[in-house]
Symmetry: C2
Subunit: 381 residues, 2 copies
């Protein structure tokens, strides 16, 4: 086992009706909130209204920033920061999925500085020394941002997507009501499942020897496949929605990295190039890249794949079975496994390769070179 730090101060309030606790939780943090949302579905389904009511009862006034994109851009975060400053916000309340919560973290970090938040992501600016408190109301089970210190934004102009992390950016309290995800369309539900499986795999392919972390990653993947199928058949199954929601959090709240060095994340780097180029959902990109990546590095990861196969499929399953069954599962729940299924044809491969060379995702344990990009691209076709 490697030396590690286990630390996660986020309070996660999980279950039916937990929004009723929001007022009480935000009250100690101030009197003014910037509420951040995406394209407005939370206006229609009553969630925004429920949050407003909680804020009002807690004596917290608010202003709304609306329109965060599903691949969130730094310009929105910068505009929201200006609004938060003008309003003299004491806190950010994010309602949405990963894009909204990641943007809220950016706003929190950018509130006390006078440069674009993008400079944090480009490592051009020194790390923030303070940040506004962030509260998150999760409406999509996928990225795990509701219980970690990371945020990912992109620049459309630069065709670049970057992550950033700071211990200041753990949400103070996150509210996870599985019923809020009943209305998530089948496709986005599937992308979320692909995302949580990819997070588990990234940490699993950190080859540091940490037996509990590896066993836990396998269990999360096994259950994600089980409940991913169940929620696909029955989108209003509380148990299926609740399990997927908790698995997505557990896959990236630090517990799978105990005794490890932090994961590989080469696949994430490759996927970021896809979503920045073609505006496809991050989870959909991951379900395309991961099988190809596993086939490309097969000889180096056969032992680890066999472990996964035996724990997620059956005791005699082989390494290759895991890749094949994972692909079958992705197909079954309706998330793409090839670029062509996402409408990306061979003529665009040169564009992808250029972007990969430009952004140069490396991978930590399975180092990626230009030759690897080409081979993986070929396998994703």
């Amino acid at each position: 086992m490697e030396n590690f730090v286990a630390y996660n101060p986020t309070k996660l309030v999980f279950g039916k009706g937990v929004i009723a606790q929001l007022g009480k939780e935000v009250q100690p943090y101030g009197k003014k909130a910037l509420v951040v949302i995406g394209k407005g579905s939370v206006k229609k389904n009553g969630i925004l209204e429920a949050v407003y009511q909680q804020l009002t009862e807690a004596g917290v006034s608010y202003t709304l920033y609306e329109g965060i994109k599903s691949n969130p851009i730094y310009e929105d975060a910068d505009a929201a920061i200006a609004q938060a400053k003008a309003f003299q916000a004491d806190m950010i309340v994010a309602i949405g999925g990963g894009s909204v919560i990641d943007s809220a973290k950016a706003i929190a970090a950018g509130y006390y500085v006078n440069h674009s938040v993008w400079d944090f992501y480009l490592r051009k600016a020194p790390a923030p020394t303070k940040a506004l408190p962030v509260f998150a109301v999760l409406t999509l089970a996928a990225t795990g941002t509701e219980m970690n210190m990371f945020t990912v934004l992109q620049s459309d102009a630069e065709k670049a997507k970057h992550g950033y992390g700071s211990p200041l950016l753990y949400p103070k309290v996150s509210f996870l009501d599985p019923e809020y995800t009943y209305s998530v369309p089948s496709t986005y539900t599937a992308y979320g499942v692909a995302d949580l499986i990819a997070h588990s795999l990234e940490q699993f392919f950190d080859t540091s020897n940490s037996p509990l972390s590896d066993a836990s990653a396998a269990e999360i993947i096994r259950l994600a496949m089980k409940y991913g199928r169940e929620v696909h058949k029955n989108p209003h199954s509380y148990e299926a929605r609740a399990n997927i929601m908790w698995l997505a959090t557990a896959a990236l709240n630090g517990s799978l990295s105990a005794g490890k060095l932090g994961g590989d994340f080469g696949v994430h780097g490759i996927e970021h190039c896809l979503s920045v180029l073609f505006d496809i959902a991050h989870g959909a990109g991951l379900s395309i890249v991961y099988p190809a990546w596993m086939r490309h590095f097969y000889s180096q990861i056969e032992g680890k794949l066999t472990f996964l196969a035996q724990r997620t499929l059956h005791p005699n399953a082989t390494a290759n079975d895991f890749i094949v069954e994972l692909e079958k599962f992705f197909v079954e729940i309706n998330t793409p496994i090839r670029l062509s299924e996402a409408g990306i044809d061979r003529e665009q491969h040169a564009l992808i390769l250029d972007n990969l060379k430009q952004n140069n995702p490396k991978g930590r344990f399975f180092k990626l070179t230009e030759a690897d990009y080409s081979s993986i691209l070929h396998l994703m076709a």
Copy 2:
């Protein structure tokens, strides 16, 4: 899944040489520390000296409270509180196993009140509204107190052992160096393994449906059996010591209770009567009580036992195999499975039964009556 809150603000610093980070971590919390230790082994092996050096380098002066017993008594906590008040301590630094850290939490909670800490445990006093920060240097892998909000103390006069919990009592930072446990004797190492397995079982036998929690409990037990055997054979195996240490923390840091109601803990209640009467180690008591408890409730838990058997032993193992193999394992690592092995003969059964009736441990999911006490006592003989 049940509604739940996942919250654990303790920062756990794990690995070789982590004591070197203690000074930096305590510095923001003040200038004066009460250092609490047990019977003095940390004086001989250099750990106390290493902590003193860190405190001195951080500009923190200290006073030592020595002599916490392995079944810690509230009188020691009260005496240490008086010493902390006289010294005007800003923080408590505990160096030891569960007994020392649990006592440190009691001291932290009692620092700001003018009654005996025991009143908290007896629910006679209102909950504390503030507490001194606690830092823990763990030297024995067992109870998980290094990363939770609980503390257990006893009264010898009242022949009673009680737990208490408050969110104020999470240690701020805990330092876990597996090498610090190399010198733990084989017996106490085994009791620690029994303790962590018992914690996993208590939460596993919370019958709320929480698949990831149940799967994780099984994995922790499987690995505890694997590395428990390894550390028994090779006490200086870093990997074995590190795994046992992390498993013990993970077994009671909240992750196994996600989606559940908090565990059964009937076995813990029964064990507390044993350790308060006969001053046996808590883990030794648990390895006696658990097999008997599982046999007693067999018909109600057969399905859950089968799940455990298949995940910790082999895919075709039966419910009964789990009990038999767990006993074999306990015997192999040298922790008792019958009262007689702990020197408690049948003449003392009446005494145990009286104490059980007096303290009346209930169990949350498998309710305990006087008839259950008698039957379990018979099975433990």
